[in-house]
Every structure is written in structure tokens, then in C-alpha cells.
Symmetry: C2
Subunit: 142 residues, 2 copies
DNA sequence: ATACTATTGGGAATGATTATCAATAAGAAA
DNA sequence: TTTCTTATTGATAATCATTCCCAATAGTAT
């Protein structure tokens, strides 16, 4: 077995950093709203940053998996992404239906409640989704 | 202005009942899990009940609007429907990721919490989505 | 029965997302 | 630095749920 082969066998956890990835991450940090992959793609194009649409999808997805960013589904079914201020813990969102303004909220009460309900019904490996939609103060005035 | 014209002007709130609609509703009452429009359509076909796919989509959608049935989005983005045992009030679901078993739960605590959070942040016209996913007792044993 | 029009259905159209796969370019080794 | 391996990219085709279109069908009132 040659050195080359050893290299092949040992599972490489390589992760290369590319300009595309930083462009996408940077774009996300420039806004405080949930945006779709398509919107991010358009935004990059406007800045003359050429990044393939497929790459945007792939990258956002991967970042969401690693929990570097948040992902939710809009009521229309699109997946939306947003940079996550607090990497620490689990949290939820208060989202404006008009302008997209998003406020991050925590809810220990919710966590406890879901845990309790799940346990009472014999469920394990539970996860939950709690998002509040509405109209923010600014938009109401209009 | 003729009698005909009067008929045209007065907004008719006509709602015709069709065999397709009853077939769909009946199918829903035969199961206790969330099913997609496609699944319902296949299920009807198996029973030799010919109903167009578009009609299934339209009907389920309409019934969900009237809150005759419940609708949620699966993690894959599909819209799923289920007949709603208790028409009375707002409620949530505890859903098994393996078998689809669904348990309806109420959560006054949640309602209060979302109301409070929304108000604190100046949001109005709020709605919320709370669903708990996990693995039920039966599936865990396998 | 007749007229009016809500509802249906099949297939085309849409739109977001994923798959394909050759070309490109990180990062390691020499 | 140069070579080599292969992760990553990107243009485009393919998927797949859902909606649109519109002529044909069938409730319902008169």
C-alpha cells in the first residue's frame, strides 16, 4: 500500500474555502431579513459577483445544516435563509408578513411545553417548529 | 333591467355539491394521518373513484380555507391534509416522522405566549405555527 | 325542460429545487 | 513552484408539486 493509497483510505474531512462561499455568507450578513436562494443570487449578481444559482442553493443548504444560518419555509413554500445572530441556542422568529422584518425571540416556556407534551404521548427524538407571523408596527401605519 | 340582469347583479353565493367533493371528504375521514393531495388522489383511484388531480388540489385547498380540515407543510415542502376532529378551536399537532401518526394537542400556554411576544414587539394580525415532530412509541420499538 | 354558470378534468405551464457532469481551482505533496 | 488529487463550481437538463387554461360537464333555480 503506497502513501497515495493511504491518503485515499483515510476519510478526508477537507473543506475548501472559495470566493463563492464567502460572497454568499457576506451577502447574508448584509441583511436582516429572510431571503430565498433566488433572491440571494440576484443580490450577488447586482454586485457583479458571479456565482452560479446551483452553488447558491448548495451553499445555503450546507450552511443551514451546520447551523451557521437559519432556515425557514415561507407560507408559499419557499425556503428562506437568514444569518443567525446568536449561534448559541435554539430560538424562534417573529416575522412581518409585509416587509420581512424578523425579530429573534427565545421561549423557554415553549421548549418546556413541547418536551412535556411529547413525553406524555410517548414520543422521542422530538423537534419543533414555532414561528409567529404578523404585521409589524411600521407596516401597520401605512 | 330584466329579471335576468337582476340575477346577475345580486352576488350569488352558490355552492354546488358534487360527487367529487364528497368522495374527497369521505376519503379523508377514512384515515387519521396527514396525506398529500397526490396521495388522496391515488387513494381515490384505487377505489375506482375517478377524480381529477386538479380537482383534488382545488377541493382540499378550499376545505382547508374554510377550516373544515387541517393543513400543514411537511419538512419536504409538501402540503398535507387531515380531517379535523374538533372544529371548535385552534390546536396543534404531534406528528410521528416514521408512521405519520398524528395526535392533536391544545396549548393555551402557547397561545398566551405568542400573543405576549407579538404585543411586546408591536406586531398585530398575528398567527402562528406550532408543530412537534418526533418518533412515536410504536415506531421506537422497531 | 331550459338556462345559467359553478365545477370538473386533462394536459400544458410554472417555479422552486435537484441532478448531471465536464471544467475549474483549493490544498497537499514533492 | 509545480504537480496531483479531488472538492467545488456552473450551465443546463431533469424533477416534482402545484397552478393555469379552457372546453366539456353537471348542479340548481325558474
Amino acid at each position: 500500500m503506497s502513501l497515495k493509497d493511504v491518503g485515499k483510505d483515510s476519510k478526508q474531512i477537507v473543506e475548501r474555502s472559495t470566493r463563492q462561499q464567502s460572497s454568499i455568507l457576506e451577502a447574508l450578513y448584509g441583511i436582516d431579513e429572510f431571503k430565498s436562494a433566488q433572491e440571494i443570487h440576484a443580490l450577488l449578481a447586482k454586485k457583479k459577483l458571479k456565482v452560479g444559482l446551483a452553488t447558491v442553493y448548495r451553499t445555503l443548504q450546507k450552511m443551514a445544516e451546520k447551523e451557521d444560518i437559519d432556515a425557514i419555509k415561507s407560507t408559499e413554500g419557499e425556503t428562506l435563509y437568514r444569518h443567525c445572530g446568536q449561534n448559541d441556542g435554539h430560538h424562534h422568529h417573529l416575522i412581518c408578513n409585509k416587509c420581512g422584518l424578523t425579530i429573534t425571540v427565545e421561549g423557554p416556556a415553549i421548549e418546556n411545553w413541547t418536551e412535556k407534551v411529547a413525553k406524555e404521548n410517548g414520543f422521542s427524538e422530538v423537534s419543533h417548529k414555532v414561528d409567529i407571523f404578523g404585521v409589524c408596527k411600521g407596516c401597520r401605519r401605512k
